[in-house]
């Protein structure tokens, strides 16, 4: 039972991990917390549904097309948001940028529900089957396993990207020190745009993966708080912390729903957030990056 719940929590945990990662990427580069992170995911999930309407995926190849379209859309969307909203506020206080992202979250919900898509809730197909498989007494659906596998695979790719490519290294340099990065000839503005694009891609993948298990509607962005709680649990500002924290939060939430009253699910994020910040602000891994 316990192990079953742990395994079950890993799939939702992967989604939280990706949202947490989206937060951390932007925070590290620009010192801003993007309160619209969940809404970026929501928009991507809606786009996935639209793209499925175009492609009618049924095999591996067509599903790859849908995934690539979603990634492409998310990247453009993230870069666009940076260009329109964040760049003009580059020299404004962090307070202002944060307020702007709060406004953005509401704006995206309004536009998605009222103009581009609608307020209904949708269940969509997934490339992975939902038929449960028994492995050594534990029930696993290929869908859950697929979500975890794609997440882990993506994180591996991301790690290699940060370690081995020139742009990835430039991004890390910008995260550490903007002035020095500029002196080294790094185009910091472009890196900011790239970071927002990358963060949106992470959210986009989260949206693509989450759509079959979380249902698509305009309230999907509520995941923002859970992703944030995950990032804090792992150690705010650290990329491995975000991933492990997000996964742990998913497992924790799943276990809490089984062993504690069911309303705990709605309070879990708040409790974890406050608990970790009050007692051990460095998170589980203690990788918190303090910026002055």
């Amino acid at each position: 039972m316990f192990l079953q719940q742990v395994i079950g929590g890993l799939a939702t945990g992967s989604i939280y991990a990706l949202v947490a990662l989206g937060f951390v990427l932007i925070f590290k580069a620009t010192d801003v917390v993007n309160f619209a992170q969940g809404e970026v995911m929501m928009v991507s999930a809606f786009f996935t549904r639209t793209a499925m309407g175009w492609v009618h995926p049924h095999g591996f190849l067509t599903w790859t097309v849908v995934a690539l379209l979603t990634i492409l859309f998310a990247a453009l969307f993230g870069a666009l948001l940076e260009r329109i909203i964040v760049r003009p506020l580059m020299n404004a206080p962090v307070f202002s940028v944060v307020m702007a992202t709060i406004g953005l979250s509401t704006l995206l919900i309004g536009l998605s529900g009222g103009v581009i898509w609608d307020w209904d809730t949708y269940v969509i197909e997934s490339p992975f089957s939902k038929k449960p498989v028994h492995i050594g007494g534990i029930i696993v659906t290929p869908l859950d396993a697929g979500i975890v596998a794609v997440t882990l695979g993506f994180i591996l790719v991301l790690t290699l990207y940060f370690k081995c490519t020139k742009v990835g290294i430039a991004m890390r340099a910008t995260q550490q020190n903007k002035q020095t990065a500029m002196l080294m000839g790094i185009n910091v503005k472009a890196i900011f745009a790239g970071t927002w694009a990358l963060s949106a891609v992470v959210s986009g993948i989260a949206g693509f993966l989450a759509a079959p298990i979380l249902l698509i509607d305009t309230n999907m962005g509520g995941i923002t708080i859970k992703g944030f709680a995950g990032a804090v649990l792992g150690g705010w500002g650290s990329i491995p912390g975000a991933i492990i924290g997000g996964m742990s939060f998913g497992v924790l939430e799943n276990l809490a729903t089984v062993y504690l009253p069911s309303w705990i699910k709605h309070v879990a994020a708040f409790l974890v957030l406050l608990g970790v910040l009050m007692i051990k602000p460095d998170g589980l891994l203690g990788f918190t990056v303090k910026k002055v």
Partner: protein, 338 residues
């Protein structure tokens, strides 16, 4: 806000007089009276939120929760315990302030961004708690608010008595806020907004003032919530969502952060727009699009809000006055420019 010159005092006095007379004018009807009540109530919220966000610099995305607490506490006290409205409102505001104090406690250790996220999560928790605490709140179905009485008068949204109660509270609490802002506490708020480190260096107790800011702000919002419950006579959890919190924030930003005048202008804008939006089909999502876009646009292009414009005009007028003076004494104009 008025810096206490004789001119502004006369202006405020005249405005108050006009508002006292307003309900007796011939064109007034119960709908307009209700709108004015709502404006006074949102003045309370936005003044309260501005004390916290505008003056003390702490973002709260959970003010709908305080509003809900004020509304529910007052309604439940009247409904279950038969407490008279005058006491239930003050009690509700005080309970909300106490909870605000507790919510403010993490602020001592948390950087602003974490605090903002914690208040967001707090808002969700309260929303959920209202549904779970069914014996008291009737859960998601919402509850009817008993009609309050003040002595022999019934405080219904369309009565004169309720109008004057709202007006009096809005006026007194705004006047109080103007004075708080000018006091030692207000200066401490602004100091910690500008730089926590500098404020600490000057001997300001961060923990004390952050929690005071939260409690004070929650008191205002709780009181507004109690009045709101009377005005609308029916409250349900879905009326106190995160979107309401964001709306409150948008309102003080549109009105002007760190300005009491801005809070009042913002509150008027909010209620007028709200009534306008109510005429549009809900599936357009117009309020969400508007408030979201307004937040972004105002932050980008007029960070001081409407109050900023007003102040700019006043400043220009003052400069012109000085310019007229400088023709008599040339050196004065140099001083004015620098």
């Amino acid at each position: 806000m008025p810096n206490g010159t004789v001119g502004t005092k006369i202006l405020v006095g005249l405005l108050l007089l006009a508002l006292i007379i307003t309900p007796h004018l011939s064109f007034m009807n119960s709908y307009l009276l209700y709108i004015l009540d709502l404006i006074y109530i949102s003045v309370l919220v936005s003044v309260g939120l501005n004390l916290l966000a505008g003056y003390a610099g702490q973002i709260s995305i959970g003010h709908a929760a305080f509003y809900a607490m004020g509304a529910y506490c007052s309604a439940i006290l009247q409904d279950k315990l038969g407490v008279p409205f005058a006491f239930s409102m003050v009690l509700a505001a005080s309970i909300t302030a106490a909870i605000g104090y507790v919510v403010g406690l993490p602020a001592i250790r948390l950087h602003g961004l974490f605090l903002a996220m914690a208040t967001l999560a707090f808002g969700r928790v309260v929303e959920e708690a209202l549904i779970i605490a069914e014996p008291l709140t009737h859960g998601g179905d919402g509850m009817a608010v008993p009609v309050a009485t003040l002595g022999p008068l019934a405080l219904k949204s369309d009565t004169l008595a309720f109008y004057y109660v709202c007006l009096a509270l809005a006026f007194v609490m705004t006047w109080l806020a103007v004075n708080i802002v000018k006091s030692r506490t207000g200066r401490a708020f602004m100091a910690l907004r500008e730089s926590e480190i500098a404020a600490q260096t000057n001997g300001i107790d961060l923990a004390k003032y952050k929690t005071i800011a939260f409690a004070l702000s929650a008191f205002y919002t709780g009181m507004a919530g109690a009045l709101y419950a009377q005005a609308v006579t029916f409250i349900a959890p879905d009326g106190f969502t995160i979107f309401l919190s964001i709306k409150f924030l948008a309102v003080i930003i549109i009105g002007g952060m760190g300005s009491i005048l801005g809070s009042i202008l913002g509150a008027i804008t909010l209620i007028v727009l709200q009534e306008g939006f109510a005429k549009l089909p809900p599936q357009w999502g117009a309020p969400m699009i508007f408030y979201g876009a307004a937040l972004i646009v105002v932050i980008m292009f007029m960070p001081q809000g409407i109050a900023g414009w007003v102040n700019k005009i006043r400043y220009r007028l003052a400069l012109r006055k000085m310019g007229a003076l400088s023709q008599l004494t040339p050196s004065a104009s140099d001083a004015a420019v620098s």
